[in-house]
């Protein structure tokens, strides 16, 4: 279980995470949504152990998230992270060298599934193709927590469907997957839980199927309603709305 308790992250005067509390349970796929700047990426970086200047507690399986926990937490950042020398194959070799839970065969299968040339340099690829390579590398790890920060950015619709298929095929036993995205329709298709954030806090969360049944609307519609009411409530004096 990935647990975050009273996590506060500040960048200068701006508070990115404001006493954030949430427990991400194994066996579930969480969709992390919210408007730009609400703290989704900061949450991901903090959970991945890349942001050090924070207060509160971030733990995985009872242990504080530190460098060693990166062997159990797979993280896909929003921005393209790769070295210029790398080809598709080199990326696999790098992951194999540094992540004990990485499966080179699975990576080869996934990149082949995406139709990528193993010898092609990443620096010569389009944004979408690089995104596919990075997704393949991250999902080829057998990590307990998989953090995907906007994995569908720049990927064409067919590619998005392929990624969705791969995520849906993952055996979730003992695994937690957290996906942040603005593409709610895609998230709705793969996630079983939704966490809505604003100003560094959780403003709404729940099981997708239950929410759909309870409110008789899609997650996109629910998102629009919740944020409309939230901002209205904030404008009128800050009281939390009732759902």
């Amino acid at each position: 279980m990935l647990q975050m308790e009273n996590v506060i992250v500040r960048f200068g005067v701006q508070t990115a995470l404001d006493r954030f509390c949430y427990s991400f349970e194994p066996g579930h796929i969480y969709g992390l949504v919210g408007p730009n700047g609400c703290g989704k990426s900061t949450l991901m970086k903090t959970a991945a152990g890349l942001l050090k200047s924070y207060s509160g507690n971030v733990s995985y399986c009872g242990e504080k998230v530190k460098t060693e926990q990166r062997s159990k937490i797979a993280y896909l950042p929003t921005h393209p992270v790769y070295y210029r020398y790398m080809s598709v194959d080199d990326m696999g070799a790098f992951y194999e060298d540094f992540f004990p839970d990485f499966s080179r065969d699975e990576y080869r299968n996934m990149t082949a599934f995406f139709g990528l040339n193993p010898k092609q340099k990443l620096s010569g690829m389009s944004t979408g193709m690089v995104a596919k390579v990075r997704v393949a590398a991250t999902l080829s790890r057998n990590a307990g927590v998989i953090l995907l920060d906007e994995p569908l950015n720049g990927i064409d619709m067919l590619g998005q469907d392929q990624i969705r298929q791969i995520i849906q095929s993952i055996d979730l036993a003992g695994k937690t997957i957290i996906i942040s995205s603005h593409l709610l329709d895609q998230l709705e298709a793969v996630c079983d839980h939704v966490v809505m954030m604003n100003a560094g806090r959780v403003i709404f969360h729940g099981n997708m199927a239950q929410l759909r049944a309870q409110y008789n609307m899609t997650v996109s519609e629910l998102y629009r309603n919740i944020y409309a009411q939230y901002f209205q409530a904030m404008a009128m004096g800050g009281g939390m709305m009732q759902w």
Binding site: L51, S53, H79, Y83, Y85, D97, F99
Partner: protein, 273 residues
């Protein structure tokens, strides 16, 4: 560690090869200049002087600038890793190991470039010795050798060329490694102190000079405490004792900076923008 160094090699092989080729090229140019000087030795004095000054300038550039590639590599590698493209910091490898691998790679770069540079200078000196038969050539060969070794050191105690060269090498090696870790530590201090990249760059430079100044002040303070009456002379004139003392202080500062840098990066520095 081997995997980390392999990764550094893959990333910086072009840079390393370019620097190596530059070192070889400069050594060859020096050898050509020496031949030119020897041929001009009977010509007009001005031309001969220009050529021989060119030799010494070349020796100076080769011996002082080329090994600095190790420091440049450290700036490139660490600054890139700690910034947005820090793929290595996404791995479960400890910061201590990552920084160590960079220092080992910097040391290897230094050793290779130093070997090529120094080899080139000795080659030029030997050419001068072999080609010219008159005393001028012998004198020039000796001067090139002395100049290469004696840029920092002018040991009155040592008359033995290999020992003098070894001392020069050790001091250059320690200075370069110290400068490399000082650069890395300055970047990590700046990264910890500010979020904006522009301010981080400015702070890195400021921290570099502040830390270097503090080190000099500590050196002077220790010299004063040890009742060394001629502090200024001891800092600029190199005797064997002073050089050994400098080496020791460089090692101590480097170890302290390494610990500060690794602890800071491990515990405090945000590894992503």
């Amino acid at each position: 560690m081997v995997k980390l160094i392999k990764n550094e090699w893959k990333r910086y092989r072009i840079f390393s090869l370019v620097m190596l080729l530059t070192a070889v090229g400069m050594a060859l140019i020096l050898a050509l200049l020496v031949v030119l000087t020897l041929n001009l030795s009977n010509e007009k004095d001005t031309l001969s002087d220009i050529a021989s000054y060119g030799n010494f300038a070349m020796v100076c550039i080769i011996i002082s600038v080329l090994p600095s590639a190790a420091v440049i590599y450290c700036i490139l590698s660490y600054a890139a890793d700690i910034g947005r493209k820090g793929m290595i910091f996404l791995t479960p490898v400890s910061t201590w190991k990552i920084i160590s691998s960079k220092l080992i790679y910097a040391a290897a770069t230094f050793l290779l470039l130093y070997a090529v540079s120094f080899g080139g200078i000795l080659l030029a000196s030997d050419i001068s010795n072999m080609i010219g038969s008159d005393p001028d050539c012998k004198e020039m060969a000796e001067m090139i050798r002395k100049f290469a070794v004696g840029r920092y050191l002018s040991f009155r105690e040592i008359e033995n060329f290999p020992l003098e060269a070894l001392m020069k090498f050790i001091l250059s090696f320690l200075s370069t490694m110290h400068m490399s870790i000082l650069v890395i530590a300055s970047i990590s201090l700046a990264r910890f102190a500010a979020n904006s990249v522009g301010i981080q760059v400015l702070l890195s430079i400021v921290f570099y000079f502040i830390v270097a100044l503090i080190e000099r002040l500590i050196d002077m303070l220790i010299a004063m405490l040890m009742n060394n009456e001629n502090i200024w002379r001891s800092m600029f004139e190199y005797s064997l004792g002073n050089t050994v003392w400098s080496m020791l202080s460089l090692v101590v500062y480097s170890v302290i900076l390494y610990i500060v840098c690794a602890c800071l990066t491990d515990k405090k520095v945000n590894l992503v923008s």
